[in-house]
Amino acid sequence: MRLDQQPAYVLHARPYRETSLLLECLTRDQGRLGVVARGVRRERARTPRSQLEPFQPLALDLLLRGELATLVAAESSGAPLRLTGDAGLAGLYLNELVVRLTGRQDPYPGLFDAYARTLPRLVETAELGWSLRRFERDLLEQLGYGLQLDAEADSGEPLDTAGWYRYEVERGPVRCPPGRGHALRGEDLLALAEDRRPSTQGLAALRMTMREVIRFYLGGGELRAWRVLAGAMTRR
């Protein structure tokens, strides 16, 4: 199968053979694809290496046969996003999250748009945490692991905005004593559901809650980017 002018982002690139790259790409219609880009590490390659960096909106011509796709042509379809400083680290986290949680050639309609929406947010706002939580929520939704954020687990009763909850994976918000562990206010869960920025304390608790959820779907594993982000944040 041939894909022409497929909107895509490179998530990761690693050297392959002498002059080629093995790319992990997020495409709009085919989800994540492993793509062999032949000869792009040569000095005078037709598609320069710099064009295949992450965070650049691309239009790819691909030949899909078996497990891996082959890159036929790549052109940039917009100005590259410059994710500098902490936004760059957040971007690497985003990419690891997508690669670790999605399978190759599993098209998730909407994942590409969610990713493409998030990158400019990382560039434009200082609210990296909030942008990442929104993406995590959308990613889980796309994967079919959508969070239940507006009703209590089991009973299905609407959340009490002033009540305290902890989020149980695959169940939902369960009442708990205030301020314990990763306890969340009902209003913060509702804010995430309605795409409003939660309170600052709420964001911190949501970050830990999301980690638990993600760890569960990784099968108990850790994301490397967590350690990188932790190192970068402790020196503030």
Binding site: L11, H12, R14, E18, E24, P48, S50, Q51, E53, P54, F55, Q56, S76, A79, P80, R82, L83, T84, G85, D86, G88, L89, G91, L92, Y93, N95, E96, V99, L223, R224, A225, R227, V228, G231, A232, R235
Partner: protein, 198 residues
């Protein structure tokens, strides 16, 4: 295919070199056996010695057979400047191209979660230790201008500031002798953004 198992093994072993496939490996093996046995033995001895004895310098992580490499131990280098590079080849490139007289630190990689490269793998504990020794005043961050290299540079700059060291970054821009028309968008945007007063 071959009547000699030793020859077959030599050919197979040579294929571990970059750019060497089955055919080149065979040519190399035949060349050494047919007309250059003496230098073949020298190659074998050098390879054996290097593989066994070359390790990493305990101060800069560059290749070294001593616990501390000549660059770190030498008195002729400026101890107040530290240049951080991704690999020993980058170090060699800077040594050859510039008149830099300071010291180095080799990361042996870059921050890349998907390649399993985090702060520990890059020896950043050792780097932090060197920064706190108090001799270093400037840290030149010479990681590659890739997404991962930039993220690494950002992380390193924070380390330097925390240790009271001034972080600086290699400039990137239009290559010498280049023409603006043919420079890629990203590089041109960067060069434009970091223009200098004349």
């Amino acid at each position: 295919m071959s009547s000699s198992p030793l020859l077959a093994e030599l050919i197979e072993a040579l294929r571990c070199l970059p750019g060497v496939g089955g055919k080149s490996a065979q040519r190399m093996a035949f060349h050494l056996l047919e007309r250059d046995r003496e230098r073949g033995l020298r190659l074998a001895a050098a390879l054996d010695a290097a593989m066994r004895r070359v390790g990493h310098c305990s101060r800069c992580r560059n290749f070294s057979e001593e616990p501390v490499c000549a660059l770190c131990a030498g008195s002729g280098r400026d101890r107040h400047v530290l240049c951080v590079v991704e690999s020993p080849t980058d170090l060699a490139a800077i040594e050859q191209a510039t008149g830099y007289r300071g010291q180095y630190f080799v990361l042996l990689g870059r921050l890349s979660p998907l390649d399993g490269m985090g702060p520990e793998e890059l020896g950043l504990g050792l780097l932090t230790q060197r920064l706190t020794e108090g001799e270093i005043e400037e840290m030149i961050i010479a990681t590659n201008p890739t997404v991962e290299g930039e993220a690494t540079a950002h992380y390193l700059a924070q380390l330097a500031r925390a240790g009271g060291v001034k972080p600086t970054r290699l400039a990137h821009g239009v290559p010498l002798g280049g023409e603006l028309e043919y420079v890629d968008r990203g590089t041109l945007a960067h060069a434009f953004g970091s223009r200098q007063v004349l």
